[in-house]
Amino acid sequence: MKEKLAKYINKELVKKGASDVVVNVGEVDAKQVKFVNNEIVKTGVEFIDHLDVFANFKNKLVSTSLRDFSQAAADKLIKEILAFSKNIQKKDDYYGVAKGDFKYKNVKDLYDKKYDNIDMVDLTMKAINASLVNGKRSSGILESNKFKNYLLTSNNVEKEQEGTHFYLSLRSFYDKDSSGHKNVAGRMLKDFNVEYAGLKAGEIAKDSRKPKKGNPGKFDVILDPLASAPLLDNIGNSASIFSVESGTSFFMDKLNQKVANNNFTLYDDATYANGLNSSDFDGEGSPSQKTTVIKNGVLKSYLHNASTAKKYKTKSTGNAGLVSPDPSNIVLDNGSKSVESLIKDVKDGLYITNVWYTRFTNYATGDFSTIPRDGIFVIKNGEINGAVNNIRISENMLNILNNIKDRANDLQQIRSWEAEIPVIAPSILVKDMNITRPVL
């Protein structure tokens, strides 16, 4: 029914003069378990239907949605779109949505047929029990969803996608001053290891007990994937051409320039198997791509949709967003050393397992700070030497990119409160990171 309405709306809007129409139809079926201090405090079940419409009338761009999936409601919406479009102003630098017919590759591991059999309570208990091996109480959330998506455009695109998502965020507490946090996320149950998250979070919580006051200064810092993800997330956002135009990018005017250490290569990859934001196609039907954003330290590409690509005389990177091209999955390749081996390379440093509250003084220059939380470990002469607290990373993104010296071989997929864009990355070693702390 919704697909039929999508076709009708598309046809009618083109008839009425729209040069581009995109209709996105779908439904999401989601489940959630929230647990606090080893008890489930809330369950959630959600069902959401949607039919979203984008239309371009001579560079007047309208977005809306249909709430009631009836023919009469569709007719009413079409009238409203026409009236609204007459009453808005042109976006002069708009160049249309992607033109099909496209050939698509099927991205692997996006839909798990076993979704309906998932036992949310059993998985929650497994995660909590694993955390209790070392930790004393644990809190967090387990989420799963299943979705269907149908995309139809006036430019010869008609494509469907089904998918599943799984996500666990678990924070283990040992006492009031020591905690550990681990997330696991993915598209397939076979790789969704909740016990690993529980066990690791519990270990960090126990190991970080009796923290001392952290010292300010410059330190070599190892960032666990949960701690580096918010930084890589901001780097991904900065690569969007929309951020560059809005002044919210530290990559402004830096295309083909050196922005990072020679050994640093970063991708945006919507084709990543099991990637949380992976898909066969983007928001306007362009086939998904893997884009090298930074290669050997040089900024190689901004992220584009079809219209922004045309504006800048380049090719779409398959990141539509119809207005703002958005990153898909930010990917940093795995390294070759173990985390233990990275620790051995550090004389005077810190091992930070999580950060939160990343905020910028200046997006254009990349000046920011973020607060390490959960286990923060001191490294002395290649060995862990106790835990600290109450510190802050006060840094610059471009400095950090230039100071990433090494990567571990512990690649993980992270989605978190702080990293809404999925990041697939290993632990990284950053030299000379600026650490501050409040005057107590």
């Binding site: 809190s139 959330i141 607060i371």
Partner: protein, 470 residues
């Protein structure tokens, strides 16, 4: 509104054995506009609705959100939720709610200049005028981004105890992000304006003048600003800084769900505990209030999302921790009544304990008098970067528009003076409170999935003695 759907769902939940059930049916009618470097981006309009159901089953809390109002689909979704909740009760927290009065109420915030009376073009022109104001300053502002949105929210709340509350709330939201100057010295300014009101809010904000003054001042900061003094000095902080400090370091740590650990995994816990009421935390000059009933303020409501009547709360009274923010779950644990602080950002999410409009109570000094009382210090009028740890103890505020104070007078602009301080040090060092007053609008984040919720924060200018500036 399709009220029968909410009534049907409550009845079905009761038939199925739910010990308690409530429904929030919400309808949103909104429009949104963006202007980037004087180019209109996409414009949108939407009419949406959905149903949020919260219930207790086998003493465990369950939540359903759905926007498909087919009765069979609702039954099927509720059944799925009941089954998950029953199974969860094996390791479920035993939930109970504090008692509250039963009432039927209907309230509406009236608009003078109605949202629906403005054409889309009129709304884009509001942004175009602002962009023109920026250009008229002749200051170099190479990147300019504005957005404007409005939403009329109709809400129908019922519960199995017999409460029934209907509300109609209009909300206007304006945001800008400006990049001023060039090269390494460039500065950025982003700020939000919001109101529970019709479009008459735009005039009240006097945003044209405020925006131009800000840009001119920040241009001087980037051109003539100097690195300021470091070490222990006095600070006069304007209402923007008062607001963020009061929101982050008083409002958040006093949310009782946070204190009990319910948001521990993400938003964090609190440096205070449930028995901290009565403890001295700040100078006696400081009184902090959270008041949902301030008309037209961005965090305005009369009844919260558990249908509890909104109330003015004194979070800190003369430097003493006085009251926490509660919902019916946390207040039950203390054998108290809820103080009406339960809010959800949409039908799709459970209500959590949230602030509304949070501010420091006015004192008796003018801002000039506060400045006159400082020999060597800084005036911090606005901020850029800020953050605070998840127990609300260690915080940082970086000055945006700031000046050196020498012998009670403003000397010259400063580049990014930084306060990095603990909560007791901050509140213990405030020695005088201004009589000026501003409330600023913001979106406050909490919960997983993340709920961004309209709030306001502010108060008067304050003087903070002898704190470390970096």
């Amino acid at each position: 509104m399709e009220k029968d759907i909410a009534n049907f769902s409550i009845k079905y939940l009761q038939e199925k054995g739910a010990e308690y059930a409530e429904a929030r049916l919400e309808e949103y009618d909104n429009t949104g506009f963006m202007l980037k470097n004087n180019t209109p981006e996409i414009s949108g309009f939407d009419k949406n609705s959905g149903l949020g159901l919260r219930f207790i089953y086998h003493q465990t809390l369950g939540f359903v959100s759905i926007n498909n109002f087919d009765k069979d689909k609702i039954k099927q979704t509720i059944d799925k939720s009941l089954s998950l909740t029953k199974k969860s009760s094996q390791i479920g927290e035993k939930v109970d709610l504090s008692k509250d009065s039963i009432y039927k109420k209907n309230y509406e915030v009236k608009q003078k200049q109605k949202i629906e009376d403005l054409r889309p073009e009129d709304k884009i022109n509001i942004l175009k005028e602002l962009d023109k104001d920026v250009l008229n300053t002749k200051v170099k502002v190479p990147a300019r981004y504005f957005s404007l949105s409005d939403v009329l929210t109709k809400k129908y709340y019922i519960n199995s105890e017999g409460k029934e509350i209907t509300s109609t709330i209009p909300r206007i939201n304006l945001f800008y992000f400006l990049t001023i100057g060039a090269g390494k010295k460039l500065v950025q300014r982003y700020w939000q304006y919001g109101a529970v009101s019709g479009y008459e809010a735009i005039k009240k904000w006097n945003i044209h003048n405020v925006l131009q003054d800000e840009i001119k001042a920040l241009d001087l900061v980037q051109k003539n600003g100097k690195k300021g003094p470091q070490g222990k000095i006095d600070v006069v902080a304007g209402p923007e800084i008062t607001g963020i400090a009061v929101h982050e370091a008083c409002g958040h740590p006093y949310e009782a769900d946070r204190i009990y650990g319910r948001e521990g995994a993400q938003a964090g816990e609190s440096f205070v505990n449930i028995n901290s009421i009565g403890e001295k935390i700040g100078n006696e000059a400081v009184t902090v209030i959270d008041d949902p009933m301030i008309e037209n303020a961005f965090g305005y409501y009369q009844y919260d999302d558990e249908g509890v009547k909104a109330k003015k709360k004194y979070l800190m009274k003369n430097g003493i921790i006085n009251e926490f923010l509660h919902d019916r779950q946390t207040s039950f644990k203390l054998n108290k009544k809820s103080n009406g602080s339960s809010r959800a950002s949409s039908f799709g999410v459970e209500p959590l304990i949230r602030m509304s409009n949070t501010y420091i109570k006015q004192g008796k000094y003018s801002e000039e008098e506060l400045i006159e009382g400082v020999k060597n210090g800084i005036l911090m009028k606005s901020f850029t970067e800020w953050n605070i740890d998840d127990k609300r103890w260690n915080q940082k505020y970086v000055g945006s528009e700031a000046y050196l104070i020498k012998n009670g007078e403003i000397a010259y602009p400063l580049i990014r003076p930084t306060i990095e301080i603990t909560t007791p040090s901050l509140y213990g060092s405030i020695d005088a409170i201004g009589k000026n007053f501003e409330l600023h609008s913001a979106s406050c984040g909490k919960g997983e999935p993340m709920q961004g919720l309209p709030v306001s924060l502010g108060g008067p200018s304050i003087r903070i003695r002898n704190i470390t500036i970096k």
